[in-house]
């Protein structure tokens, strides 16, 4: 089952195309991770999927309907986005910021209803932010702040979650916590998750489906076993990688690597 279809999409900024003619589909109820070197167009592709950038040609389809023709609020009820770097305005508490995640579900003056409170409190709880609920967002550490933004995306209560590098700013344990949380949301509630990760081993361990990109084009798409190969990593990152198997998840992981001599 496909939930998002990217159909011959070309997208970029004012006078430069970053992604040219890319087609790929995102399976429903799975975790899909996009990997690739800096500047390969991962974030740009995510922005196109999340309708922040308009495609210059081609289209993104959500359940078969072009995303730009749908009401943006309707899309927001089904799809939440965590951008790479988000800035909170001063003076907001954690609870208040997370409560903004209910925006697409509210109408009129937007007093919070029982259901909203449930979503917000649940999101705060699963991201482990309960004790910070009434603290000001500015007073938190980088990692805590990142979790607040994740909580906001969760409070949106959508079946699809799109996250651009959700583990940046987090320490080892918190990185894993976030990924395990996403895994749980996927397993228990069948949510579709699309994210960009820089850590290949995390990508391999937690995804069902991986997309590797370079220079705005798709290099290889498939299961971690298919994508995490020496050959593919060489063509995507230009590295010479030694692969082994993750003792926990039995997925292929990269033990260590060096820069590829031939092409340097």
């Amino acid at each position: 089952m496909t939930v998002l279809t990217i159909d011959h999409v070309a997208v970029g900024y004012a006078n430069s195309l970053i992604v040219e003619d890319l087609s790929v589909s995102i399976p429903k109820g799975k975790i899909t991770t996009i990997i690739g070197p800096n500047g390969c167009g991962k974030s740009t592709l995510l922005k196109a999927i999340s309708r922040v950038l308009k495609t210059q040609s081609g289209a993104v389809y959500l359940d078969g309907r072009a995303i730009h023709q749908l009401q943006t609020k309707e899309v927001a009820k089904r799809m939440a986005i965590l951008p790479q770097s988000a800035n909170a305005p001063g003076g907001l508490t954690v609870f208040e910021l997370v409560s903004y995640g209910r925006f697409p579900h509210q109408g009129g003056f937007g007093t919070l209803k029982k259901e909203d409170y449930e979503h917000i409190n649940w999101a705060i709880f699963v991201t482990g932010l309960n004790e910070f609920k009434d603290r000001s967002v500015e007073a938190l550490s980088g990692g805590q702040r990142q979790r607040v933004w994740i909580a906001m995306a969760l409070a949106q209560g959508t079946e699809i979650l799109i996250l651009d590098e959700p583990t940046t700013y987090l320490d080892l344990a918190h990185q894993l916590e976030v990924l395990i949380l996403l895994q749980r949301l996927n397993e228990e509630e069948g949510r579709t998750i699309v994210m960009v990760l820089h850590d290949l081993n995390h990508a391999s361990r937690f995804s069902h489906n991986m997309i590797s990109m370079k220079n705005g084009t798709l290099i290889k798409e498939g299961s971690p076993e298919e994508v995490m190969t020496c050959l593919n990593l060489q063509s995507v990152f230009n590295i010479d990688a030694r692969m082994t198997t993750c003792p926990f998840s039995k997925n292929p992981i990269c033990l260590s690597y060096q820069l590829n001599q031939k092409n340097e």
Binding site: A14, K47, S50, R51, V52, K54, T72, K73, E74, V75, A76, K77, M79, A80, I81, L82, P83, A86, N87, A88, P89, G90, G91, L92, T93, F95, E96, Y100, G101, F103, P104, Q106, G108, F109, G110, T111, L112, K113, K114, Y117, E118, N121, K133, D134, A153, Q156, I162
Partner: protein, 345 residues
């Protein structure tokens, strides 16, 4: 209410605190209102004021209060509200702390229109008072439209940064046009224009109240209903889109509302631009950054500020008057500076 059982204690506390602050501001407005009714060439005791308000004063008292002081006070409050809320919206959508109605060229446009009129029809010593607000409003509106058109790009729409830069450029252009015009004015006309530009509530007349009131009554509640949108826009374009706000459309609508409010206010009061800058800042200091509270608080602070300024301006150099715009800056700026030293970023 049943929903509120979901709030934690401290949330309930902060809500109560915010409502309390709003209450205090209302109370202050009432107090200053009473003082202001008393202020003027002819002194009236508070009791006389109340008596007259309820219809049992002398005819002379009645005339002073209802025909001179009351409309002026109401205009002061309305103008302050309009400018502060307009500033609130502009700071919200541009995410720039320096934004105020001035960046949309509203003050400059209104000023230029007035000045042009007086330069080319200097013979009219008694300038038709009802023509000026209309001229000023037209000037403000045209300038705002020009700025919007110049910063609009077909594929990208309006970027806040481009809007601000365009606004600054146009306002600078208009200001220098005004310098040229200034040199051509006769001293009498110059004095009139300068007073107008400095921001004074000179239209103490019920007709002005009626012409301003609809804008305030319609637009402020409308903007208040968009409080959540402003909250979300504050998070940046990316997040706002993700949350399902149609940013381009919302921005356009909010801009139009801000221009309407500020244009209507400026057309009656001249340039009291500083209120639009500090009103929202003061409000955020008091109640945090959620627009559900910021908007009403900014409206009240703005109204209070202009009312106090106008009262002081009438009282301090009796029988001549100091334009409210000057007093606003003289009392507002030091307080604002004090605040700046207190707050963390």
């Amino acid at each position: 209410m049943k929903e509120q059982t979901y709030m934690t204690n401290s949330q309930r506390k902060s809500m109560r605190k915010n409502l309390f602050i709003i209450g205090i501001l209302c109370l202050l407005i009432v107090i200053v209102f009473m003082i202001s009714m008393n202020t003027g060439f002819i002194r009236l005791s508070p009791l006389e004021v109340i008596q007259t308000l309820f219809g049992s004063g002398t005819e002379k008292q009645h005339l002073i209060l209802f025909e001179f002081r009351l409309p002026r006070i109401i205009i002061a409050v309305l103008v302050g509200m309009g400018l502060a809320v307009s500033g609130c919206v502009l700071q919200g959508i541009s995410q720039n702390a320096l934004a105020d109605p001035g960046i949309l060229g509203i003050n400059a446009g209104a000023g230029l229109a007035v000045m042009l009129f007086i330069s080319f029809f200097p013979s009219t010593t008694a300038v038709p008072v009802f023509l000026l607000p209309i001229l000023a409003f037209t000037g403000a509106g045209i300038t705002a439209i020009i700025i919007y058109a110049l910063s609009y790009k077909r594929n990208e729409g309006i970027s806040p940064m481009r809007l601000i830069l365009t606004g600054v450029a146009i306002a600078a252009g208009i200001s220098s046009a005004m310098i040229v015009l200034t040199l051509r004015l006769s001293p009498d006309n110059y004095q009139f224009v300068a007073t107008w530009l400095a921001g004074s509530i000179w239209g103490s007349n019920w007709k002005f109240v009626l012409s301003l009131l609809p804008w305030i009554v319609v637009l402020i509640p409308f903007i208040f209903s968009k409080a959540r949108v402003l909250n979300v826009l504050n998070l940046g374009d990316l997040t706002a889109t993700g949350l399902g706000a149609s940013i381009e459309k919302e921005r356009r609508v909010l801009l139009a509302a801000a221009v309407g409010l500020a244009g209507a206010s400026v057309s009656i009061s001249g340039g009291i631009g500083f209120v639009g800058l500090i009103g929202p800042h003061l409000a955020r200091q008091l109640v945090g950054s959620r627009h559900q509270y910021v908007i009403p608080t900014a409206a009240l602070t703005g109204g209070l500020l202009v009312l106090i300024a106008d009262t002081i301006g009438r009282w301090i150099l009796q029988p001549s008057e100091i334009p409210a715009g000057i007093v606003v800056a003289v009392i507002g700026a030091p307080y604002f500076l004090y605040l700046l030293t207190r707050i963390k970023d």
